[in-house]
Symmetry: C2
Subunit: 480 residues, 2 copies
């Protein structure tokens, strides 16, 4: 047993026990202290170093818990045998080089910069009700105190769910009790969660083209996916039946990206399809139903469901802001029962504070007022888009109008979708080819079509961009 001369630095910010600890670690790492070697007793070491016994106890305790030494009862402390040990201290020297290498491996593709982006997510600039939100946030944080920071209900706070049930009944004809609602941080999460409730091995029927995020959610949840044909009324029920799917994902209020509204008859056919099987479900994604510019909103499919088979999904991403991260799902009673009765409910993914803010927002008519304001904003943009796109003349056909915040333009002058997108890109305008939303090459989709989201653009920007597009897309003009 050697006598240690541990250089202790009384001016160091590291406490003495830690200096002892670090010194011994280095000795062990460098092999100067060999496995099996006995260390001085704590008392001996303390005397040796002129420190208190408890300081050495602390250092030894630390070394034991990190596995460098072990304490054998009545015998003392011994250096451990450690196979293939390597140490963060040494490894860190290479950090900077290593970090650069990591960064290169993870470098995401450079994003191109466009002057105008007909993006399909996002909201109108200035559309978020900042002042009100801040006020409600203050109230929510003040009212809650400690309650707000206890674990909440895994399905969502009762207050928010009650407010949602009321809103959904009034505005969308959804018939549910608050206990059927699951609150979650976005549709991706809710669809993953739904996947764990429905169980694996299911076959999902989706329209083609469709909402790609949902497609990926299902794919990564372990669904098999069948592309089902659609016509001007939405998903074809006979194709759905033929596909062998047991679950169907539809957006009856405003299909994305095609923009059609599913008429009542087709809705009834879908419900009849679901009723023909024991465990068939329809997922109704009502993502932008708040924005309808002609007539009254068509009630949700869920309100017509007499067989406990419609899963209704709604979100605040379009109606409030995508970064608020709150969506909700109304489950059929039998599915909610299944979730409740299983072991391990997942913890809710929205903070209680945010849930409280949203509850206040819904309860005091704020949401209605906000929606009315935004509906007017988007209707103006929608009408402007239609007027400006009319200027394209007979080279283009517009569809998907009267609802939502995007439109489709089909080019009839022989310009391909790819060319249309590229020409726009060269002029600094980002438009989206319809085929990006295709989930199967087998089912034909409308050719030469681009999708234009207009929520995020200012009116002047829309005017200018569409005028540019007219020039760029008119082949005659270009080659005159």
């Amino acid at each position: 047993m050697s006598t240690f001369l541990i250089p202790l630095d009384s001016r160091s910010r590291d406490p003495v026990y830690q200096q002892i600890c670090e010194y011994l670690k280095v000795q062990i790492r460098k092999g100067r202290l060999k496995p099996g070697e006995k260390l001085p007793s704590a008392r001996g070491m303390a005397q040796n170093l002129g420190v208190s016994r408890s300081t050495v106890d602390l250092a030894y305790g630390q070394l034991v818990s990190e596995g460098y030494i072990e304490s054998l009862p009545c015998k003392g402390y011994y250096v451990c045998e450690i196979d293939g040990m390597y140490f963060p201290g040494e490894a860190r020297k290479a950090d900077e080089q290593e970090d650069t290498a990591k960064r290169e491996r993870l470098a995401a593709g450079e994003k191109e910069d466009y002057e105008t982006d007909f993006a399909l997510d996002g909201i109108a600039p200035g559309g978020f009700p900042h002042n009100l939100w801040r006020k409600l946030a203050r109230r929510a944080l003040a009212e809650g105190e400690d309650q707000l920071y206890k674990p909440g209900d895994p399905c969502g706070e009762p207050g928010l769910r009650e407010a949602l049930a009321g809103y959904l009944y009034q505005a969308r004809g959804v018939r549910c009790i608050p206990e059927q609602i699951l609150v979650g941080a976005g549709n991706d999460y809710l669809l993953l969660l739904l996947g764990t409730i429905l169980g694996s091995g299911r076959k999902m029927g989706m329209e083609n083209p469709t909402y790609l995020s949902a497609y990926y959610d299902f794919r990564y949840t372990g669904f098999r996916i069948e592309a089902v044909g659609q016509d001007s009324q939405g998903m074809k029920t006979e194709d759905l039946e033929a596909s062998g799917a047991d679950t169907a994902y539809v957006m009856p209020s405003h299909q994305f990206p095609m923009g059609m509204v599913m008429p009542l008859k087709r809705r009834m056919e879908l419900l009849a399809w679901a009723a023909r099987g024991e465990e068939r479900y329809i997922i109704e994604d009502d993502y932008d139903s708040e924005f309808r510019y002609k007539g009254k909103p068509v009630p949700a499919l869920q309100g017509f469901d007499g067989n406990d088979c419609v899963i209704y999904m709604g979100t605040f991403s379009k109606s409030l802001a995508p970064s608020v991260r709150v969506s909700y799902m109304v489950l059929p009673v039998r599915l909610m029962q299944r979730y409740q009765n299983r072991g391990g409910l997942f913890a809710v993914t929205v903070s209680r504070a945010d849930q409280k803010i949203l509850e206040l927002f819904l309860k005091e008519g704020n949401y209605e007022r906000h929606l009315n304001r935004m509906r007017a904003v988007y209707k103006n943009k929608h009408d402007l888009m239609l007027r400006e796109l009319k200027e394209l003349g007979d080279i283009a056909e517009v569809s998907g109008e009267n609802a939502g915040v995007h439109l489709l333009v089909r080019l009839k002058n022989g310009l391909s979708e790819q060319e249309a997108v590229q020409r726009a890109g060269k002029a600094g305008i980002r438009v989206y080819g319809l085929s990006e939303y295709q989930i199967s090459r087998k089912k034909k989709i409308q050719e030469s079509t681009v999708v234009l989201g207009y929520a995020c653009l200012r009116e002047e920007e829309i005017r200018e961009a569409v005028r540019k597009l007219k020039k760029i897309w008119d082949i005659r003009e270009n080659y005159e």
Copy 2:
């Protein structure tokens, strides 16, 4: 074609077009208007009712979009054929009865009420830094404006991830660049997400007993789960090897529920196990590492990983509050690459506002100060628990001390776990049987042991409850 006498109510809050619409719907539903029957022209109807043409256009448009009537070009409007149609209007009459029935089906089991709950989630009353949080929330909401409400980075905001990487390096020895971090709303979500990145068909090795939520997350993600033996140092690597698992879930800083710290040697063995296979991963859940009352925190396993195989998970649920819903995961570069390169990244599950607040909280030393304060609070409770539990004398053995916010008590006087829990319950004290955290009956776990979380309890409550437990659990005393 009949002449319609539609009773229009000019004082009604419903607009006229809607009254027309509703009236015609009822006629169609009741069969007074038959499928195939022709409606008056819009002009004729308008004259007939003394309303404007555009009002009737609106009503007809609505009926078309809901599928009640169809418009045949150059011919007019016809009532649709609708098979098996049923209507929400009628269905709603039964709503109240229906709602009661639903409520009964979804009634969750009544929660028993305890005077004292040694709960394992939650934080110290008064432990949440309200004032600071409110201040930072105001700053975050004021600074961001519209930026805060645009869709954010699917992996988490760069600012927060940078702050996290800095904190993790300093406090936990985690070596990563911000690009390796995924921010998410809680561990359940992050483990589901991880499941989609790792892919299905994997075999997960877990200690027995273990953290049940993780067990369920993996189960519902499609992992096969193997219970792996553990001893006083944590998961046994030879058992792990023998299990055939390709992924291991461990909590080296403070195993839940057993409370042991994994020594360095075992950590190295685990890393060696992972290095022996191409696609082996270790999930290191560092859920409560912030609270260690003796010596310096043991650095994370991740910091020793030279083979890009440790997935590090951390959370603010213990250190800040469970309801804040922010966790994070440091992925090996190769897994982050795999995620980035796949189609369909999931949208982030934490609002940008909350991410911004947390970034400010981390960056300005607030978190460190908060942790120091909480560490002192919990250390006092920890020491008090140990002192009070000592009073149980030789009937009990305490373990899992020096870290975290829970302790284990093994009863050595022949009292079974079930009896111990029941006796406590009768006295108004909720304690948790160790076997609740058991994931396999085949692997033996420590008998007659209860788990006591003390984070949420006031010191006086702890004192009183433990004194009661002493009486209740001491069989001699009870039967004297």
